[in-house]
């Protein structure tokens, strides 16, 4: 329950997810030290040995076995991403502080023993440092980095050879943690592990892997997640306002503990209605969107779903219920009967989510419009009948049709060529006041997944630089990087942050001019691009 003081802001203007203090839970170290008895001298030797070697060599062939061979080159960010024409899938691990595996993104080609020993090593490494009140943040091994996040009773790790800044994978791990908390609250976790330190959490999370996989696919490519903001659907402001008005609850509904009512399409928010006293945290919104777009729901022929979930930034100790239903104008109903067809359709359209690497979680974005109602109440019959009323209203007044037309006509997305700025290839613009971003679709050459990953990694490097997220001394105001293929620039000002991609021969001064031109265009289009206001109740 935050932000009672800012009834105007839809989104919490907040320190980014990944900015959480790295030394957040120093207290845990003490507990660990007591728990693990052992030969202090040998531990100290091990610790020193680790300190000396971890950042230089690949000492853990087990952990890093599948990475690309890059010799013993020490990590050089520039070099890595110039050279990285291949992006092997990142590997994510979740384990308990007792070293029990909880989740891995690894595929079955690795056997279970291998996994258990990998996790065992991770747990050992982390605890060796915790014993000293220190925290293992990452291991650089050639071109591979293994980063760790300690959120006792859980440990998270990511193995990546993409050459991204350290803060990027840490932020992935933070999101991973939030997704886990959306399934098992922090309070439940603590209670479980107080009783049984050896608890097999993996079993409790059974069936939720699909949510975690889709989150990981999302977090790697979604610029809104990496900038802790929201990307809403580009739409005629009149239609948006009409939709918002239809969502405002009345009468009994109003009194019934409604938290947020959100209309979504193409995986983006159309509008969001909320009580005056609650803003929404972008991270909660991403967790919510990921859950509501889970294949379990998207591919289901159910007319609605009712999901208990915890929104950790809102309240990490309890669950709220989310009613999810996908609306479709009457004449589209036949389409929705066959889930198989839907996913094909989605692949063909310019999907918001770029192709995902993991088969298990093809996070397809249904062309339909989704209505999400988050509530503290357990009265789904009432919520359901109210949502039925809302969808009828949206249908009869033509709002739904207007939205679906906008989507099928392609006007919910735009091309960088609409801006007519010479040399401009792509950009991400973040309005700091709105806590929202806008970006054109990825076009040639970035329609190719490898190129897109390379560009995203460049953006992440800029973002990391201008926010000094990986322990830099000072944040940069502006950073310009020229690669063989393009030049990119990140720039932060009072009203906005911008990341632009230009033809590689353009000098920095041209980049600044282009950025200014983008900002003028965004200003002009602001009403379509951003969710500027929505009714509160």
């Amino acid at each position: 329950m935050t932000d009672a003081g800012f009834p105007e802001a839809i989104l919490v203007l907040d320190a980014d997810v990944e900015v959480e203090p790295i030394d957040g839970e120093a207290g845990n170290a003490i507990g660990r030290a007591a728990a693990s008895a052992g030969d202090d001298a040998s531990k100290k030797a091990l610790r020193d040995q680790l300190r000396r070697t971890l950042s230089k060599k690949e000492s853990l062939s087990d952990v890093t076995s599948r990475r690309n061979r890059r010799g013993n080159k020490s990590l050089d960010i520039q070099e890595t991403y110039y050279a990285a024409d291949v992006f092997p899938p990142r590997q994510y691990f979740v384990l308990t502080d007792a070293g029990k595996p909880v989740f891995t993104s690894r595929t079955i080609e690795h056997n279970a023993d291998d996994l258990a020993s990998t996790m065992g090593i991770m747990q050992a490494l982390i605890s060796v440092f915790l014993d000293e009140g220190d925290k293992l943040r990452c291991i650089n091994a050639g071109g591979t980095r293994i980063s760790f996040l300690i959120r006792s009773p859980l440990y998270y790790a990511c193995v990546s050879s993409w050459g991204e800044p350290e803060s990027v994978t840490r932020s992935h791990l933070e999101y991973l943690h939030l997704q886990v908390l959306s399934i098992v609250t922090m309070t439940q976790l603590r209670r479980i592990f107080e009783r049984r330190t050896n608890f097999d959490l993996g079993r409790l999370l059974g069936g939720a892997e699909v949510l975690i996989h889709s989150l990981l696919d999302r977090v790697e490519v979604d610029p809104a997640m990496s900038t802790s903001s929201l990307q809403c659907l580009k739409l005629d402001p009149v239609v948006r306002a009409r939709a918002a008005n239809a969502l405002v609850p009345s009468g009994k509904m109003k009194a019934s503990d409604i938290l947020y009512i959100i209309l979504v399409a193409q995986g983006r928010v159309i509008t969001l209605v909320r009580p005056k006293k609650h803003s929404i945290h972008p991270a909660d919104l991403h967790i919510l969107m990921n859950t509501a777009h889970s294949p379990s729901i998207i591919n289901s022929s159910a007319s609605a779903s009712w999901l208990p979930l915890c929104l950790p930034k809102f309240n990490s100790s309890g669950f709220v219920n989310t009613f999810v239903t996908y609306l479709q104008p009457e004449d589209d109903i036949s389409d929705r009967q066959s889930a198989g067809k839907i996913s094909e359709e989605v692949d063909n359209q310019k999907s918001v989510d770029p192709a995902s690497s993991r088969k298990a979680s093809t996070t397809s974005v249904r062309s339909g419009v989704g209505l999400l109602c988050v509530t503290g109440s357990g009265d789904f019959e009432m919520i359901r009948s109210w949502c039925d009323t809302v969808s009828k209203r949206l249908d009869t007044d033509g709002t739904l049709a207007a939205i679906t037309q906008a989507i099928s006509g392609g006007s919910t997305e735009y091309s960088v060529s609409d801006l007519s700025i010479p040399g401009l290839r792509h950009f991400i613009y973040k309005s700091r006041a709105h806590v929202q971003i806008t970006a054109p679709v990825y076009e040639e050459p970035y329609d190719n997944i490898t190129e897109r990953r390379r560009l995203i990694t460049l953006y992440q490097t800029l973002h990391d630089g201008i926010h000094a997220k990986s322990g830099q001394d000072l944040p940069l105001k502006l950073q310009y990087i020229r690669t063989e293929k393009e030049s990119v620039m990140g720039w932060i000002t009072q009203p906005f942050e911008i990341y632009i991609t230009l033809s590689h021969w353009l000098p920095k001064s041209a980049a600044v001019n282009a950025a200014n031109a983008v900002s003028r265009w965004v200003k002009k289009e602001e009403a379509r691009l951003f969710l500027r206001d929505a009714p509160v109740f």
Binding site: I183, V184, R203, L204, L205, G206, G207, A208, V210, L211, T291, S294, P295, S296, I297, N299, S300, S301, A302, S303, A304, S305, W306, L307, P308, L309, T322, E330, I333, Q337, S338, A339, G340, G378, F380, R384
Partner: protein
């Protein structure tokens, strides 16, 4: 499937709230998908929370509208179950014939329902995945319930899960055992295959026959629901049209 559209038909149809319960991965969602859309998806993702579906069935003289809560089977959702069965008039408790522990779980669900749900609730026990323990998918036949289960020991189709490939080993719950339990506990009993469709529609039609429709009508509409006069005994003769004409295809109307 003209069903979904009609709000107006509501005044003619009897709404029956039905909940599906059972261990994870026994095929609850697949059974419902077969019933509602007459489809089957291999490798369905696990349900999160609960999914809501509706399906109409026409009885001779009236329309039944099933409002189905298909619940997630994972243990962490167990505590939410009362929310779904509290007002339910029917429950389908599903187990997997190739997994003995799933019947044990089903029994605990039945106990919980009998203790805490609406006392008139009609409970059906459904042993799903029979296609795995049959020599060949019996897609055409609709007689499975009455058929004697001579096939306990027959060969299995290629789809056998992982380790065991022997049909004998695959079936872990003998039909007789489950049936005996069902009789003792006063449940309807079926063996089903969401994959082939076997037995699925029957589950819902038999429930429809057993449900005290008049009682529901009376309680939900007061006196207005009365004129139909056909009491509970009359409804026993009734069968769903589609079930008779099209076999197991569906009782979609």
């Amino acid at each position: 499937m003209a069903d979904a559209a009609s709000g107006s038909a509501a005044d003619k149809s009897v709404q029956v709230k039905l909940v599906l319960l059972g261990e994870a991965a026994v095929g609850k969602s697949s059974v419902v998908l077969r019933f509602v859309s007459n489809e089957f998806q291999a490798n369905k993702e696990p349900t999160i929370g609960a999914a809501f579906l509706t399906q109409k069935c026409r009885l001779e003289d009236r329309v039944l509208r099933y409002e189905i809560w298909d619940t997630a089977g994972q243990e962490r959702f167990h505590s939410l179950a009362p929310m779904y069965y509290r007002n339910a008039q029917a429950a389908v408790v599903v187990y997997d014939v190739t997994k003995a522990t799933s019947l044990e779980k089903a029994k605990t669900w039945v106990k919980e329902l009998q203790r805490q749900a609406n006392p008139n609730i009609v409970i059906a026990l459904a042993g799903n995945k029979v296609d795995l323990v049959q020599p060949s998918p019996a897609a055409g036949s609709s007689a499975s319930e009455s058929e004697d289960e001579a096939d306990d020991a027959t060969a299995t189709p290629g789809e056998a899960p992982a380790e065991a490939s022997d049909a004998e080993n695959l079936r872990q719950v003998p039909r007789e055992e489950a049936q005996a339990y069902a009789e003792e506990a006063g449940l309807l009993f079926f063996e089903t295959s969401a994959k082939t469709g076997e037995g699925v529609v029957e589950v819902f039609t038999e429930i429809a026959k057993k449900i005290p429709l008049e009682h529901i009508l009376a309680s939900s509409r007061g006196a207005a629901g009365r004129p139909g006069a056909a009491g509970r005994s009359a409804s026993q003769d009734v069968s769903l049209d589609e079930n008779q004409s099209k076999g197991k295809d569906a009782c979609n109307c």
